[in-house]
Symmetry: C2
Subunit: 571 residues, 2 copies
């Protein structure tokens, strides 16, 4: 805010000019002292001018209610919502989220740095404040095939953009701890104010080594002890409640016993159904208060602390010169705001977002499935003797490596639904190389048909699972035609689909439609015998070659513990 | 820290390479959790690698003792010490101060932006980390005559320097609150990460207006209520203990009742005798603990909080990847470190600084007294009837305006020691304009002779007080010859002097010598009848035209309340 607007804000604070808006008579949360005061909050040009008694302006009666700063998500990936930034904003604003710090590394895998620049463009002017960290780990490993590697130069170009803050989660913690020069170079990019971490289970000397690299946050702690070790080393502890990693309840004793300093909330990866049915940061507030954490500490973590963790001056508090992101709460237990102001304007009311202009989607982020046509020969599994099988672990990202004597037909290894052995294939889709990684997977319970997705962490090639090659081929062909999405096939034809035209990752539809589509697909999978929760999410992580034990990319099976490509044949 | 040094630090943390130094077995303060843990602290290339058990390296036995981060002064002016940055470092390192954030606005008044650049040059490579804020208020008012105005362009040039952080204390709070465009422009300079405030006694709507300008700290609060108001508005409260403003004890109830969040320590202006005899930030720790504040809260305010207030990543804690500024304390009451490590090297031991290379002083900061020769005619006071007199208030910066029927001789108003009425003159000394402001002052008790100084806030022209014109002229001539300093004269000749050759503000000698010289001058003034404490400090503020009520500059008497030049003749 500069020049005349700043002078006007100051004049409104002095009560010499009328505010644009006054929220009257609420109990106002002061994040810097974790106190409540009563008063009118005056807003001018999207900023808070002061808390006192004010005349004029549009009046919002909040007497008998609570006024708190808008919630901030300290670390997340918009792509997990399968929504564009605009639709994501529409989904979370009613829950009171007014700012996010996102790492757009999924679109970066598909679109290179153009994907990150698009994320910035596509979030320009939204009522939701979208801050971006420069992805540090594209590709996630040498076994993955994204469009291209994101270089230090790409990161520096991203960091020249307004709203780009620092280096996104450094997932290559073994590389950091080993002191790998290429990895450390990514921590030294120009223009970064700070670096986020990602160090699951890393403690002791290894954590010292990781922190010594200058990494100042982590969102992967799953126990109080781990989180406390990180906080002691000067790292912000970003308490996480993701669709696939609900860590909040386990971590709250840290806050109860050691206070909320250097703690903030984050969602990391939330599927659209969780956003729709449970909420966003407000769900974390609800849970924390229910678990007995003082509401003032909860609100500090949900607001100011996230801003501090990211050096976001002027966010996260209701104070003069801060952005007027303000929630009216009717109670301090449900955290369902009856009114959401973002930048001083009404952004949501009673759980519904107000309409806002949605940026057009440019052609270059569409039509990104460029796989070579897949033929039956691409799915042939050849191996003598026992073979490796990926065993999924329900509701976890890790897998187990099993050794199995497979069924064979005409000399080839084939799926065997009677023993829950399905075929899995990863088809390279960025450069039409025709590369197809093949293997077997167990644990889905699939008895018939196939399903496939272009959401396949982190390179987002086409990943398909099936007990029938024709159905797998139908899925691959349909994804090519759709430009990406999630599909189910049976008897050689597609039975259901969720198109994800943007980068093969995101729908352009509202969250309600996306969830409805996914519900339908889930029902179809259940009919095909799939018993686990969230099979598409599980599928999407089978290609992520940095989480143990046995994974698969377009280059083949990856033994993550030994960090090398392994053949289908075991031993 | 980049490249190979970073990789080595990480290797030391892993215990794969030997550290440079290991501080063994102390109780180590963890600033982020305000806990103590026992362990070895490993240091490599000036940084902390980890806290664990380490082999090799130079060993420092700290068993049975306490290890805390080096102290940080969150707001101060080096010039108040009358020491060069190197001599200041030598003075405060033994007290455990390893970093300061200074506003060099005194040298900026004398030397323009060159003075600030010199402050940065002269502090390069010192064991003390010196951070600089870009002065925002040179001149302090339109009634003062510094070398030249410091412009927005000058500030931006300063902020391009390494170790330059943000906008220094915005003292023109009336200008901010009024929304003055020129003042607001200084808050919008490029390259500033944040802006420090200065808002004595400002509360309520006026404080809202001041904070709405984006100002995020204040060090002028003198009461808990005022400090709490500031903290509630998102401003860092920098608790001050200066030579002329000992506010700490009055403010500590804020910490006791509301915790240490958003509180840090600062010294603002400390005279050399206070540094030598009482210490620096460690004196504030000593006092705070004696007043019953938990030692962990005290240490957080003296270290990490100051770093946070100034976005100084990697300072203020003993944690991996933080600068190894570390103090060994034998107790937690005296805060007299037995060993001080700065950047991993021994900087002081048992109260004595280790030798270090002192930068040469360049010629352009010397010989800055460029006043025109002063003649008896320049001191003539002409006024009919009663006249205005500046009445000093002991130990305060404010003055009172009195009206007196003066003594007269040959038609001119003259000093009258029998009624404690002395002559005061301010001689412009930057451009040899020959401008001399003249008036009368009461309250010193001077019976004979004169004294004068080139330390005269903020423009630092020559200020002289005397009951004998010949002695005043002797003082002015001697200051010209010295290139600045403090002098005393009697019977037409100089009886004592402290040369301050650097900008007319700083000695190039160690603190002990400066204090000894000042002690001698104080004794001489007592012989001349001066009864008040710290007469030179009082003198130096009589020219500061922004503190009520009646002050004097080279342009004449200033009625600060009406903010205009007024004649000697009253009414």
């Amino acid at each position: 805010m500069r020049g005349r607007a700043r002078a006007r804000l100051i004049a409104v604070a002095r009560a010499d000019e009328a505010p644009d808006t006054v929220v009257e008579g609420a109990q106002v949360f002061l994040a810097h002292t974790r106190e409540w005061v009563s008063g009118d909050v005056a807003i001018a040009d999207g900023m808070v001018a002061g808390i006192a008694s004010f005349e004029g302006g549009e009046r919002i009666d909040a007497r008998g209610r609570w006024l708190v700063p808008g919630f901030i998500d300290a670390h997340m990936h918009v792509e997990s919502s399968k929504l564009t930034p605009a639709q994501f904003a529409r989904a979370v604003l009613p829950h009171g989220t007014t700012a996010i710090v996102c790492d757009p590394h999924e679109v970066a895998n598909v679109l290179g740095s153009d994907g990150v620049h698009w994320m910035l463009d596509a979030s320009e002017g939204l009522p939701l404040s979208v801050f971006v960290m420069a992805p540090s780990c594209v590709p996630a490993s040498a076994f993955e095939s994204p469009r291209r590697e994101l270089t230090v130069g790409d990161m520096e170009a991203i960091l020249r953009r307004r709203r780009a803050l620092g280096v996104a989660e450094m997932m290559n913690f073994p590389g950091v701890i080993a002191g790998d020069a290429g990895v450390l170079a990514k921590l030294e990019v120009r223009g970064a104010s700070h670096t986020d971490g990602h160090a699951p289970g890393v403690t002791g000397r290894a954590l010292d080594a990781y922190a010594a690299a200058g990494i100042r946050s982590d969102h992967e702690a799953t126990s109080v002890e781990e989180a406390l070790e990180k906080r002691r080393r000067g790292m912000w502890v970003l308490l996480r409640e993701a669709s696939n990693a609900r860590n909040l309840r386990d971590l709250l004793p840290l806050v109860r016993e050691h206070g909320p300093d250097f703690c903030a909330f984050c969602t990391d990866d939330r599927e659209p159904d969780m956003l729709l049915r449970e909420g966003h940061i407000n769900q974390m507030c609800r849970l924390s208060v229910a678990e007995g954490i003082p509401v003032e500490d909860v609100l500090a973590m949900a607001t100011l602390h996230a801003a501090q963790a990211h050096r976001l001056d002027g966010y996260g508090a209701i104070a003069p010169g801060f952005r007027a992101d303000v929630l009216v709460l009717d109670d301090l237990t449900s955290f369902a705001p009856s009114l959401v102001l973002a930048g001083g304007r009404v952004a949501a009311r009673d759980g519904v977002a107000e309409p806002f202009a949605v940026p057009d989607i440019p052609a270059h982020v569409l039509g990104t499935v460029r796989s070579a046509p897949v033929a039956e020969a691409d799915l042939v599994l050849e191996a003598d003797g026992p073979v490796r099988v990926i065993e999924i672990v329900p509701e976890q990202l890790i897998t187990i490596e099993r050794t199995v004597d497979p069924a064979r037909s005409t000399g080839h290894v084939v799926a065997d639904p009677s023993r829950d052995l399905a075929k899995i294939a990863v088809v390279e889709r960025h450069h039409a190389t025709g590369r197809v990684g093949r293997g077997l997977v167990t644990g889905f319970g699939l008895r018939d048909g196939a399903f496939a997705s272009t959401v396949a962490h982190d390179a987002h090639n086409v990943v398909a699972v099936g007990v029938d090659d024709a159905d797998i081929l139908a899925c691959a062909a349909r994804l090519q035609a759709l430009g990406g999405g999630i599909v189910v096939a049976r008897d050689g034809r597609i039975t259901g689909e969720l198109p994800l035209p943007v980068a093969g990752l995101l729908s352009d539809r509202p969250v309600e439609e996306v969830v409805e589509r996914l519900d339908t697909l889930h029902a179809q999978l259940r009919e095909l015998g799939v018993t686990i929760e969230a099979p598409f999410m599980t599928l999407s992580f089978l290609a992520l070659s940095v989480i143990p034990a046995l994974k698969i990319t377009d280059r083949g099976l990856v033994d993550v513990d030994r960090f090398q490509i392994v053949p289908l044949a075991a031993g």
